[in-house]
């Protein structure tokens, strides 16, 4: 049984982060942009767990534990903001939310 290398896990994490970043850049629906942000967060946790595993320490895993908690709080507040925004403006398309422009 050959274990995959650290490099393989990091490559997956980098690709996942890049996909999330591209999603954040090209999507116009705020909810989908938010989902892509979550993807980027999960990619970084994957890198943390991989490093932690291959260094034989616990610290990365405990960090991921904290990141999961913060992500839960972040999603709750972010979705509440999106709902408040929709209530105010009747849209969540990013290209129509340009009041602060100019």
């Amino acid at each position: 049984m050959i274990a995959p290398t650290l490099n393989a896990y990091l490559a997956v994490a980098v690709l996942l982060f890049a996909i999330g970043l591209i999603g954040v850049l090209i999507r116009r629906n705020t909810l989908v942009v938010f989902m892509c942000l979550e993807l980027m967060l999960v990619a970084s946790t994957l890198a943390l767990v991989a490093f932690s595993r291959y260094n034989g320490t616990m610290d990365g895993n405990v960090f991921v534990f904290f990141i999961l908690t913060v992500a839960a709080a972040e999603v709750a507040v972010g979705l509440a903001i999106i709902v408040a925004l929709f209530r105010k403006r009747q849209t969540i398309q990013l290209d129509q939310l340009n009041t602060l422009k100019n």
Binding site: M1, I2, A3, P4, T5, L6, N7, A8, Y9, L10, A11, V12, V14, L15, L16, A18, I19, G23, L25, I26, R27, R28, N29, L31, V32, M35, C36, E38, L39, V42, T45, L46, V49, A50, S52, R53, Y54, N55, G56, T57, M58, N61, V62, V64, F65, F66, L68, T69, V70, A71, A72, A73, E74, A76, V77, A80, I82, V83, A84, Q93
Partner: protein, 171 residues
């Protein structure tokens, strides 16, 4: 975990992540996000972080994606426009795609990290007891701060979603 299982999980994760980006329907996108998170949880199992895999499924797939779906249903937006890179200058577009591509290519091609000698050491992160020792000794202060953070987030969500009389005319 064998290399075959790793490959399957990695490809599954990445393909479903692409599905999140390209799906024009937000419900389908959140379903793809769910599948991608399941793939990442499988990768966590491969890294012998069983508790984190379980928590990822529980917190992300159980709570966060359900919340996303709930909000998508609540807002009921029409189908998204085709994802485009419009509004961005051509130079910024080329630069962004080029930088991301360059980073990925350089990492995959040359980012070989030295393997530690203990590359196949037994897992240290497997048991709940180890987490408990760390959380309640070394990381006691962050745990308490996180408790306050969750409290503040709860209060913030209540304030954001409640309608206050007399404050509605504030533009």
């Amino acid at each position: 975990m064998g290399t075959f299982l790793f490959n399957v999980l990695a490809i599954f994760t990445l393909v479903t992540a692409v599905g999140v980006v390209v799906n024009r329907n937000a419900v389908n996108a959140s379903m793809c996000l769910l599948l991608s998170l399941v793939g990442v949880a499988g990768l966590f199992v491969g890294l012998q972080a069983y508790l984190l895999a379980f928590l990822l499924l529980l917190v992300y797939a159980g709570a966060i994606v359900a919340l996303f779906l709930f909000i998508v249903m609540l807002l009921d937006t029409k189908g998204d426009a085709r994802p485009t890179l419009h509004k961005l200058p051509v130079a910024a577009r080329v630069l962004a795609v080029g930088l991301v591509g360059l980073g990925v290519v350089s990492f995959v091609a040359q980012g070989k990290l030295p393997e530690p000698a203990i590359g196949n050491a037994p897992a240290v992160g497997a048991t709940l007891k180890l987490y408990a020792y760390q959380l309640f000794s070394t990381y006691l202060l962050p745990v308490q701060i996180l408790g306050f953070l969750l409290l503040i987030a709860m209060l913030g969500v209540i304030v954001l979603s409640k309608r206050f009389e007399g404050l509605e005319d504030i533009k």
